[in-house]
Amino acid sequence: MIETAFTKYHPVVNFIFFITAIVMTVVIFHPAALAVSLAASVASAVKFSGKKAVKYFFAFPFFVMILSMILNPLFVHKGLTVLFYIGESPVTVEAFAYGACTAMMVGAVIMWSYCYTQIMTSDRFMAVFGKIAPSTSLVFSMILRFLPRARRQAGKIASAQELLFVPPEEVAAEIEAGAANAADEADGQTSREQTKTTKIKKGMRVMSVLTTWALENSIDTADSMRARGYGLAGRTMYRKYRARPADIICGSLILALLAASVWAKASGVWDFYCYPEIEFGGRPVLPACILLAAMYAVPLVIEVWEDIKWTRSLSKI
């Protein structure tokens, strides 16, 4: 939904990055790695969509993270270092540590998904999957097109049906009251206060009408698709995405950093156990951490680089 420096790269590069970031966040379960991932995901989200990302973070993932941090020590009583007891059950440092790590993981995955939603618009998604899975990606992008239309139509239907749910006696009473109450009528919303059942009934009716409308409309859409040669060979994309040298370099860089991180994980650098005692693998984490951070930071670096280029070009004028 936004145009940034990162969206100038080929959609396949964008897609590879997000899948890599999400998978590595889930796979490397180590406080340092998770902290880096969480920081990078939040920073990227803020870079992509500014204040909206901050709002989103505090509206949703933040609470999930707190919940995860509280729930794990309450449910899991493994671990040797007991902090205190709740009733009979011990609350341990290890369980807290594990809860904190899961919290960071969940938070990072949610924020990477948020970034994904910002960057991978439906036409970019189509550019990745249009060749591999044409029907599925077409269904997906059609849904994205239908949803705002359906919402608009639902609003129209609802306003057209507004009076249908005022009981007839009330309508009659209102007519009787007539002119005398005409003045109150303007702010007379209270007389029409709806119970939950009416609200549900109303919603149901709107959905029913919406269905009829959508079904009829869909046939038109399908027919015009056929008229324009849907399913024939040699179709092209709405936008042409060509792989530039920069795309190939960026893509290979991401994959190389991914390979390095997978190797680090396989060779035990990222070993970390919470139970029975918190235990690190014993090998220095810093080099692997820098590689991992570099991978997570690819879009950030691209964005910042673009900003620098922009400010420089300004100062020259």
């Binding site: 969940v106 269904v139 949803l147 149901m204 869909s218 056929r226």
Partner: protein
């Protein structure tokens, strides 16, 4: 699927689907075995995510290979749109959503395969509004299976082109018994598919080596939410199943989308 055969001989399709399903099952079993024997930290979580993919991929490969017609694709997209719009329209009551009811109706009207696609797509798309996360594949499988089983159970008897019920319900697409069966299925599926599969992720993400106790605790805490969803599904099916099936039937008949 009505149009899906697309000229291909049916046996070939069956063999392909059987191979896909068999491959998915074997890979899932292998993942399960790996999780049970490995001492890799959080093996169960990786295995479960892999299994969800092994369930999803064969269905979508089969859907792609069928090369569905434009009208079919659009119809699926419309059902998902209605399901997602319904989830958003009733946002003011938590868990009280018509989405499962719409998925079931889609399965009944369009068959098992389309039911799976509508269910899993609804989960995928609506999570763009309600939040994507590691739970998405679990939800996709759960809702996909709800739509698929609905198609397997009811498509032949109540789908478009099926014989109208005799007696007073002749103009209603499904009779009293059929509606009752649909309602029971709606309620049960909320627990066995939605509850069991979606909450699996919660259970697996909370601890590293899930015990039966943890899983049961998570399922126990999820019961109330599942019950609300089941109640919503029953109410929505009761009120919407007949009119919506009739509408779908009419559209499919009118535009010759039946064999």
């Amino acid at each position: 699927m009505t149009e899906a055969a697309g000229g291909k001989p049916n046996t070939k399709k069956h063999v392909r689907d059987a191979l896909l399903a068999g491959g998915g099952i074997i890979l899932s079993a292998a993942a399960m075995l790996w999780a049970a024997t490995t001492n890799v930290d959080r093996g169960y979580m990786y295995a479960s995510i892999l299994i969800m993919l092994f369930v999803l991929v064969p269905f979508y490969v089969s859907f792609e290979k069928d090369r569905p017609y434009a009208r079919q694709i659009v119809l699926i997209a419309v059902m998902v749109t209605i399901a997602v719009a319904g989830r958003a329209a009733f946002f003011w009551i938590p868990q009280f959503k018509p989405i499962i009811a719409v998925v079931i109706i889609a399965g009944v009207a369009m068959g098992a395969q389309a039911g799976f696609v509508v269910g899993s797509m609804s989960a995928f798309v609506s999570n763009f509004i309600f939040g994507q996360g590691p739970w998405t594949p679990f939800q996709m499988v759960a809702w996909g299976l709800i739509g698929m089983v609905a198609g397997l159970l009811f498509y032949r008897k109540m789908g478009p082109g099926a014989k109208a019920p005799a007696g007073p319900d002749a103009d209603r697409q499904i009779g009293k018994g059929g509606l009752a069966a649909l309602l029971i299925y709606g309620a049960v599926s909320c627990f066995i598919f939605h509850g069991a599969i979606t909450d699996l992720w919660t259970a697996l993400s909370l601890t590293d080596h899930p015990t039966l106790g943890v899983i049961l605790t998570v399922y126990g805490t999820g019961l109330i939410a599942d019950a609300v969803l089941a109640a919503a599904t029953v109410i929505f099916l009761l009120l919407m199943a007949r009119p919506m099936l009739k509408k779908l039937d009419r559209v499919m008949k009118k535009y010759g989308m039946l064999e």
